[in-house]
Amino acid sequence: MPEQETHCLDVLVVGAGGAGLRAAIEARTEGARTGIVCKSLLGKAHTVMAEGGIAASMGNVYPQDSWQVHFRDTMRGGKLVNHWRMAQIHAQEAPARVQELEEWGALFDRTADGRILQRDFGGHRYARLAHVGDRTGLEMIRTLQHRAVALDIEVFMECTVLALLLDGGHVAGAVGYWRDSGRFVTFRAKAVVLATGGIGRAYRVTSNSWEYSGDGHALALWAGAELIDMEFVQFHPTAMVWPPSVRGILVTEGVRGDGGVLLNREGRRFMFDYIPPALAAETADTEEEADRWYLDRAGARRTPDLLPRDEVARAINSEIKAGRGSPHGGVFLDIASRHDAAYIRRRLPSMYQQFKELADVDITAGPMEVGPTCHYVMGGVRVDPDTAATTVPGLYAAGEVAGGMHGANRLGGNSLGDLLVFGRRAGLAAAAHAAGLATLPALDQAQVGAATGAALAPFERAGGETPYGIHRHLQETMQALVGIVRTREELCRALEEIAALSQRAAKVAVAGNRRYNPGWHLALDLGPLLVVSQCVATAALERRESRGGHTRDDYPLADPDWGRVNLVVRRHEGGLWLRSEPLPEVPSELRQLLEESR
């Protein structure tokens, strides 16, 4: 075998978005020899697309904010099936993580007295998102990228991990391929941190880039780790719907945070018709009160335009289905009639540019057309809240690939905080774990050979179909049958389709050679995409209620019994094994916070 490129590390981080970079920075700072492997060029990971901001209760705009309120908002947004300890750690540590970014060069928008400005977002009681206009993710990833470079962390760019390597039950590294040359590379490591993001590329209408193929979810599952909450997929309520080629591109919640309102074809602010009973006490029920809330937090309740994302996405879906949608199958989002043009261009420069250049729409002059898009998976690898350790020794997971923090629905702004808080903790724990091992775990060449052999198989098949059609079929299946609203019949059909597609994927063929070959890359991505799709559909079929990012037309209400359990998936004898587990018990002092009505 001529291909023997091998790198030896203490900590290998898979993924160079916010969580991966933050994990690597921490591991390196702890003295671990750290490498990051990423599928794209450094700085292009999906974090760059985050728009609105980082939720952190710094209290710069509303001094009465605190971690306790943030914790409560996060749990209630997650319909109380979050892991309470993750929500607590996140709320407590996010402010320090934001301030640290400043020390590394980030330039957040400022308050008049020179502190970090914070903006309103859905489900957050106070304005608490630290932001840079509507391009906060770019600021965050660039800041972390510069920091990682300053610490001289090794970065293996445009390299895709095919499989994790194990030594007995312990993680021993990973095997991957260079996208440019197609050659294989082996990473031996004492600890591996998965920070691969989400699964959005399984859906047709998605805000996610091609990288989001569920790699980390699949790698963990294949290595024996458990996944949790996979039925909960977030559909962001507002994405572009026209022209067709941009359908799914995100429109930040910051538009509504800054005063934008949702309107149906009749010009009605329809969100007032969709206030759920559980949030009625804290939501304005007249337009006058909703508008007053932007200026007067104490005397008015929040606008229903800023209800949690699951509520808004379902409401938009219902309006469109009832025939009250916009001409291109969305609803209207209007900020033009609420603020002057200069304000809009300053606060939402990226949205202004995106609509002007891609849709010929001037958002300072007229409304946008928007509709839901697949945006985020709440489910992920099951981790220990304090250390981000998975159930496989030496394997850690942080960011979107990890589950538990967001429960059934993630609040906007809580993702960037999640990446920083748990990225750091994963890096810390992985470095400590590596320091405790005297030698590298053993390398099993048979595992390397199995992974590389499987990867090359598509070149040896003659006459098979290309991966593009299979991928498109999968996206259409997930969109139609495992989307915002689900039924038993459709989910069963989805599982049959996924099984059939898996058969087809096993026979996929690729043309050309191994040099930068996107057809081959997609053929290899089909493996993770199919298995995570199966996990989502399987868990969605099992949960017979509606909650957060999981709506069942045949079980339209939340069921208190289902509200007491998480669904856990693991691999078992070549198939999936699903079980429900009681939620971890919330300590009484935190339970009190959750029970407060406002």
Partner: protein, 288 residues
């Protein structure tokens, strides 16, 4: 299923909705332009059509992309000879019936097809001395005023598409300068650090002696292609050149600038607006 020859049939669509994409195919050993005839839809961008070529005609066609919304800077290439982001270039820009030629960035070595080796930029980034922040305030925070960071925020809009590096004459026409010339993207980064309200380091000797700042002859080609509208020449390169001149001929002026800036919270100042640059405008206030 590949149709790598000229005039190969594309997907079935009415002729008026078809377009000829003339794409450079090849590797470091050489290549050529090949025509692909494919359908187009309403509102599409060049990247959409290239993806259709990939899915229907040339599954191994190499192209970089990520966000498809002009935010990540991955899909840089030259369209009809002009450096552009493929995801932000509307098909409606071109007259119907004309072939659209897409070639890789000319300044960087070819990997394959439309993908080039841009590692030069990442190597240069490793040579930038990082931010050296002053200590925090007593309350553990940093105070900075919006007026003092407006220019820095302009530089931070850079999406690292490297179109500025691609068109820079020093890099494009003199490949031998790559060892001693950082290029516009990196000059933005240096300017960001030099003007950063928290920074206490001095990178001017490095800029003058190793990063080739003086080689830039201010033709503003970089500014013209920047998809983010960053005024690279006026707001970054010229002020850097002035600072370097200050350091070598007027150290007192430089010292004054650094020391004044380091005095804790203060009223907004406008000193960082470079010549030709707009004065900073007020930043966003609290919620409306």
């Amino acid at each position: 299923m590949t149709h790598d020859e000229q005039g190969a049939p594309g997907t079935i669509a009415p002729a008026e909705q078809c377009v000829t994409m003339r794409l450079w195919r090849g590797d470091p050993g050489g290549g050529r332009l090949l025509d692909y005839r494919v359908s187009t839809g309403e509102g599409e961008v060049v990247l959409d059509v290239i993806h259709r070529v990939q899915a229907d005609l040339a599954p191994d066609l190499a192209v970089r992309w990520n966000c498809k919304a002009g935010k990540c800077g991955s899909c840089s290439a030259e369209v009809n000879g002009r450096p552009r982001l493929l995801c932000m270039t509307r098909m409606s820009l071109f007259p119907p019936g004309s072939a659209i030629t897409v070639t890789p960035l000319r300044t960087f070595p070819i990997i394959k097809d439309l993908v080039t080796d841009v590692s030069f930029n990442f190597e240069m980034a490793r040579r930038v001395p990082p931010l050296a922040p002053r200590p925090r305030e007593a309350d553990g925070t940093y105070r900075m005023y919006q007026a003092d960071i407006v220019r820095g925020q302009e530089f931070h809009r850079c999406i690292e598409c490297f179109l500025c590096q691609d068109v820079c004459h020093v890099l494009r026409d003199h490949q031998d300068h790559k060892a001693d010339f950082a290029g516009p993207r990196l000059f933005i980064r240096y300017a960001d650090l030099e003007m950063h309200p928290l920074d206490a380091a001095d990178r001017r000797p490095l800029l003058a002696e190793q990063m080739g700042l003086s080689l830039c002859n201010i033709t503003k080609c970089c500014t013209e292609v920047c998809p983010e509208g960053i005024r690279i020449t006026d707001n970054a390169i010229i002020p850097l050149k002035e600072r370097v001149v200050d350091a070598y001929f007027d150290p007192v002026a430089w010292l004054g600038r650094k020391v004044l800036r380091r005095r804790g919270p203060r009223a907004p100042s406008r000193e960082d607006a470079g010549p030709g640059g707009r004065p900073p405008v007020g930043g966003p206030g609290p919620a409306p």
